[in-house]
Structure formats: C-alpha cells, structure tokens
Symmetry: C2
Subunit: 259 residues, 2 copies
C-alpha cells in the first residue's frame, strides 16, 4: 500500500507546490512509483509538470465528486515513475457544493484508501494542498497517513504553525486517528540572512526531531523550473535545489521505512 | 469619504500583507489618515503591527457578525495616522457560518459604506485579504472601490491573474458595479533575475497602464520588520523597501486624485 502524505501549510507561498513536484521527482528518480494529487484550485502542480489546461479532462474535482475513478484521472508526466491527477479552478466551488454532504471530509480518503489502489503499484501518493485550512485541506489530512509541512524561513511563517498543529489534532480526534506529522522542512533558507537562522533555531528548539535535517536553500533554479514545465531535477540536475530535494527524499525514505 | 481598497491575490505569499502594512504606513507618513482591515484568519497584518493576540478583543470577525461597531473595533497602532481592525482565526469559520445568510457577500460593505464612517475622518481604508477567492475576499471586493493586486515576480504568480480578473468581473456584475482595478504592483522584484524581467515584460505587455510604474524590490529589511512589530518605514527608513513603498504611495495618491 502506498504511503499517503499531505503537503500542507495554510500560510501562502511557503513552497508547498515546489516541494510536492520536486520531492515527488526525487523519489521517482530513486525508483519509487509516485502519484501526485493536485488539490489546489490554482493548479500550480499540474502546470509545473506541463499538464496544459486543455489536457485536464478528468481532474481532482471529478474524482472527489465521484464522476471518475482514480485510474481514469491519473496522467503520466514527462518524468519516469511520476504521475499526477491534475486540478482546475472547479475545485474552488467544493466548499459550497459539499456543505450538505455529511461525508464531505472523507471523499478523498474513500478514493485513496480503496482496495483497488494497491493494485496500481504506487509507493507514494503526495497531495499538494491550497493555502487554507478549508474542506480541501481537511480532505487531504483525513486521507493521509502523514503530513509534511514546508516552513518558509520567514517571520510570518512560524505564526501559522500552532494553528496548523491544532487542526491536525482536530482531524486526528474526529476523522483520522492515525494521522501523524511526517516532518517540517525549512524552505527558501538563506544562510546569510539572520531571519533564516532565527527561524531554524526556533523550529528546532520547539519541534526537535519533527524538523528534517535537510534544509531547502533559496535557489533561483527552483523558481525557474516550472516555466519549463519540468522539476528542477530535470531542468538543472546539478543545482543546489536538486541536491536538496534528493537529500529530502533520502531522509523521507529512511523515516518511512522506520515506521 | 475614504477610498476603500482591497489588497488581494489568491496566490499565496505574493506580498499582500507586506503591501497593506507598508503602503498604509507610507500613506500615513504623508499625512493621510489610514485604517487597515485585517481580513485574513492568519492575522499577519495585526501581528506585523504589534497587536498581540490577547489585545484582539473586538476583531474583524465580530465586525462582520454585527457584534461590534466599526468604532469599537478600531485600534491605534504605534504609527501615527495608522489604525487597524485586527483579525483572529475565528474568521476561518466565516465560510461555513455565513452559508445561509443571503446577504453574506455584503456584510463588510454594510459596515464600511455606512454613513457614520465618513465622520471617522479616514482618507484610505486598506483591506488585507487571505490567499483564496472565498467569501472573505468576495466581501472585500464588494466593499471596496478598487482592488490593488500584488504580483510576485515569479512564474506561478502570473497564472492566477486571469482567474482573479474573472472573479472581479463576476463581483462587478452581481454586487459591486463600480469595482475597478486600482493597479497591479510587482513585488519581490530582483533585477539580476531573468524571471523578474520576464514577468514584468509579460505584465506590462498584457495589462499596460494597470501595472504601477513603481516596482517593489526584494529587500530583506521588509521581511525583518514584522518581527519588530513595525512597518519597514519605522524599522529602516533608508532601506530600498521603504523608498519603494513611499513611491507607491505617491503614485497611488496621484491615481486616486485623478479619478
Ligand atoms: N527554495 C526555493 N528557492 C527559490 N524559490 C522558491 C523556492 N521554493 C519555492 N520557490 C518559489 O517561490 C514561490 C512560492 O512557492 P510555491 O508556489 O511552491 O509555494 P506554495 O506554498 O505552493 O504557494 P501557495 O500557497 O500559493 O500554494 C514560487 O514562485 C516558487 O517558484
Ligand atoms: N519585497 C520583499 N522583499 C523581501 N521579502 C518580502 C517582500 N515582500 C514580502 N516579503 C516576505 O515574503 C513573505 C510573504 O509575504 P506576505 O506574507 O506579505 O505575503 P502574503 O501575500 O500576504 O501571504 P499570504 O498569501 O500567506 O497572505 C513574508 O515573509 C514577507 O516578509
Ligand atoms: Mg501551491
Ligand atoms: Mg498575508
């Protein structure tokens, strides 16, 4: 059965999509079969992997609505071992449309924890979440075995962490008792910047082992790669961004194996 | 009557809060009386201006719920001529709570367009929006005279713009016919980075005069200032961030006067 990991943080612009795409690509490069679920109405993960708007026929919205099966919604990307279920802005009406559905928090879980999924042969399923703690992110937390939290090395980023942890506790008590935090990964880290050092100290002091040893540096190649519709590992394999996400994949593999 | 401007973009981390705080402070420095409305459950604008959690007694949530008047919710900040209505995470339940309220999109407008508001003597009201096109951002668009859109100089940032413009058109047709786009301001701009130049070219080519001449450079003093609970104009008045927001305030004043 695949390890299902939600990449979430309600703070915007902290590197959720960049981590989903590049951690996914690094795991795939090491031989794992990886499925990405784009759960953000912005559809940045889909765009960052070259799925044009007109190619998004069966989407995550259709999956949650029960109109297509997982198999029908999965598309191959240009990267070996890396597939994706793409997203469109249709997802943004999920909040309103699912209001009266009492099982609204379990819709994604029902799809990803179905018996058929193990026949598809994935080792990892990574879910890219939108910047909010709405019904979409809750769906991801209920479906997932664990949560990976990108933490930007900036002042505002730390503030939202306690709210995120409260939400995880809520979800654990009401819908998914096994949900755990896989880890917190520092992103856009700049050694020359005092703020980065301070945020790292704070995070490691308060959250100890929950914080990955691997730190993702600020690296312009990471922000250029999506405009070429490929992960940074394809765009510039020798970049600091590529080696950081390879190190993160290795650390994640070690953590998942030990569970 | 004050000019009411919503600072919005559903893409996360593009500089909405940084622009609300520092544009507000630059307008206040020039003698305008400015009120900020923190409409983001993260409450970053409130934190960035030193309003501690325990000081957030009357909040934007209470205002929308009709439990307090605007006058009761307004707090002075450490900056002369700059006041704020603070936010807490209570706001994040607004989506669900307001579902059955047919006037749910007009709640903030009813408060900010009330006759009493002109007696408070504000020249500008700036609304900091969350990273989503949910009921809170729609409330801001219905209440506002215009929209100011921070656009991060990055690839993913351009993608969301068309969706934002569609939402503005919707709001204009259904609830606020006078809503216009005040302008698009490029943020975190780095002249040495090809991507920044490309995004600027694309933006100016497609949106012409809508794009402010003033560009906000990437400047570490902007990200340090919130940890000292003051705008960058107070933290480091001589920094590139301070002069950029002063230039933006000047340009905005000129645009607003010409309307
Ligand atoms: N380590 C990094 N170095 C440099 N740029 C980065 C890095 N990580 C992400 N970026 C860039 O920063 C911006 C924000 O990252 P990204 O879009 O992945 O964040 P997000 O959390 O998914 O945002 P949202 O909240 O909108 O979903 C993007 O333009 C991305 O290319
Ligand atoms: N011009 C700039 N130069 C350097 N850092 C900046 C600049 N503008 C914003 N920042 C930093 O980038 C991060 C994101 O900015 P900010 O929080 O203002 O964005 P936002 O759009 O309000 O995010 P959200 O979508 O979560 O509300 C913050 O840590 C902020 O301090
Ligand atoms: Mg994203
Ligand atoms: Mg903000």
């Amino acid at each position: 059965d695949p390890a299902i990991i939600a990449i979430a943080n309600q703070k915007g612009g902290v590197g959720k999509t960049t981590t989903t795409i590049n951690l996914g690509a690094a795991l795939a490069e090491k031989g794992s079969r990886v499925l990405l679920i784009d759960l953000d109405p912005q559809g940045n993960a889909s765009t960052g992997l070259g799925i044009d708007q007109e190619m998004r026929k069966a989407t995550t919205y259709d999956l949650i609505a029960g109109d297509v099966t997982l198999k029908q919604a999965i598309q191959q990307t240009s990267v070996n071992n890396l597939s994706i279920v793409p997203a469109t802005t249709d997802l943004s009406s999920a909040d309103l449309e699912l209001i009266d559905n009492t099982k609204r928090s379990f819709l994604l879980r029902d799809v990803l924890r179905d018996d058929d999924v193990s026949t598809l042969g994935f080792d990892y399923i990574l879910i890219d979440c939108p910047p909010s703690l709405n019904i979409l992110t809750v769906n991801a937390m209920v479906a997932a075995h664990s949560l990976l939290v990108p933490l930007q090395s900036e002042f505002f980023a730390l503030e939202g962490l306690s709210q995120l942890i409260l939400t995880v506790r809520d979800v654990r008590q009401t819908a998914n008792p096994d949900l755990r935090i896989e880890g917190i990964v520092l992103t856009m880290y700049d050694r020359r910047n005092n703020l980065s050092l301070q945020v790292e100290d704070d995070a490691r002091e308060n959250m100890g082992d929950m914080v990955f040893t691997t730190v993702i540096p600020r690296n312009v190649r990471l922000s250029e790669a999506p405009s070429f519709a490929v992960p940074v590992l394809t765009y510039d394999s020798g970049s600091k961004g590529s080696s950081a996400y390879r190190a993160l994949a290795k650390e994640l593999n070690a953590r998942t194996k030990n569970k």
